[in-house]
Symmetry: C2
Subunit: 266 residues, 2 copies
């Protein structure tokens, strides 16, 4: 089984992804996870509640999620973007079923209401943040679907042990899911060829990262990209063997990633 | 098997519905269908694109759906409202899975791009309307879920034969679904005790309607309510034996409907 996570950027090409998925499904079971951050930010702005990004004391960016932000998250991730991807895949003859982490308690999370953030030189505590960290997976529902030739197309939010809807990091959840399903290979598709040494220079691609050294590469990441490193670490701790960071904008995005044309971490 | 359709009104009480569903699931398989029109209208307004209702020459109201309206529809029905209902049901220990008609081609529709509407005394043709009429059901996906103790929570939009997302009438789709699944009883929950002779008087409830005479009762309906009559007719033509129109605001909404406390059509 292969899990593919595609980012929520505008230039991610879902036709190319669909072509590869269609081909891969002939030999392998697949789960697709997707983001929707760009569209979310766009709709949030239109609704007069622009996305607020906060930074933890250790420098990791995340989205501040009050009830209003959570509703926008639900609308864009679980509604608009998820269903458009599902329809697109179906146009390629792929039997896609879109789910959020809430459905069937697919992604069960520990709510993390308190959030320490850095504001300038100060540290501040935010309370009642509607986020959570995914800890358990309903592998039963996923297996039921993939064993019956459906392709699950999954995205946050997740559901907490207390049955609250919580914003959660898709990459982290993907790592936990890989662990529980015994998946050995993960493909993450970005709007870049992989991890770059110099963000402004696409030819500065880092081709190989030994998994033990993943944390050393934090220096090449910014903002939310740091979460990719945290998620990669988590995935390896869960038993994943190889992670591929590849380009979601180009033809054959998944095949090229698997061939090592992006960044390979193992 | 029982199919329950609950409207998208603000006073529909989902705690009461969840209590009944939980009880009923001990003995019966259930599918839940829901609306979200009130929330959709609210978000559409906030986004500066208020819902446009058009009226057919025969007097049936429907929503004009351009690309923008369709995106709002997806956000609110398949995202916000569907997932909030799913989380609510899970808080009652119900293993709910939310799906749109797009997922797994659950609701396959014939696209109806041209729409004749009445504007004052004139008749006008609207083109490229993104709507469709559900004709086929992926009963395979539904059976897979219900046979494995999941409760499907379904809503429009549907998907067309050409893999386009299309707005579609939930009540009509519910009728088609009942037919294909061989369901004999349908419960529709409104923000009213049932069909009223006089809309302003809740004690003017019509208790029984012989199914052959359903069309005579169009005189007691207005606007979108007319679609309930059309859907009821369709359901009977598909083999449904009894339709219950009941109050979704009161305790025991489903049990009371089945006991005949609302309008029973058979």
């Amino acid at each position: 089984m292969l899990i593919i996570k595609a980012g929520g950027g505008k230039t991610i090409n879902w036709d190319f992804i669909a072509e590869d998925v269609k081909e891969l499904l002939k030999k392998e079971k697949i789960i697709l996870v997707h983001g929707a951050s760009v569209k979310r930010d766009e709709i949030a702005k239109k609704l007069g509640s622009p996305t607020k990004v906060v930074t933890s004391p250790s420098g990791v960016d995340s989205v501040y999620t009050d009830e209003n932000a959570l509703e926008i998250f639900l609308m864009v991730y679980a509604g608009l973007v998820n269903k458009k991807i599902v329809a697109k895949l179906q146009a390629y003859g792929i039997n896609a079923v879109g789910l959020s982490g809430i459905d069937g308690k697919l992604w069960l999370a520990k709510a993390k209401k308190d959030l320490l953030i850095k504001e300038g030189t100060k540290t501040k505590l935010i309370q009642n943040n509607k986020t959570g960290r995914v800890e358990k997976i309903n592998t039963n529902l996923i297996s039921l679907l993939v064993d019956n030739h459906f392709l699950p197309v999954i995205s946050a939010p997740a559901i907490s042990y207390e049955n609250e809807i919580v914003n959660s990091d898709n990459d982290w959840a993907t790592a936990v899911m890989a662990g529980e399903l015994g998946v050995k290979k993960l493909v993450f598709l970005f709007e870049a060829p992989g991890l770059l040494q110099d963000l402004s220079n696409e030819s500065s691609l880092i081709r190989h990262i030994p998994k033990e050294k993943i944390e050393d590469f934090v220096v090449y990441t910014q903002g939310r990209m740091r979460k990719k490193i945290i998620a990669a670490k988590k995935a390896f701790s869960e038993g994943v063997e190889t992670i591929y960071w590849g380009d979601g904008r180009m033809k054959k995005p998944i095949f090229n990633s698997l061939k090592g044309k992006g960044t390979v971490i193992k």
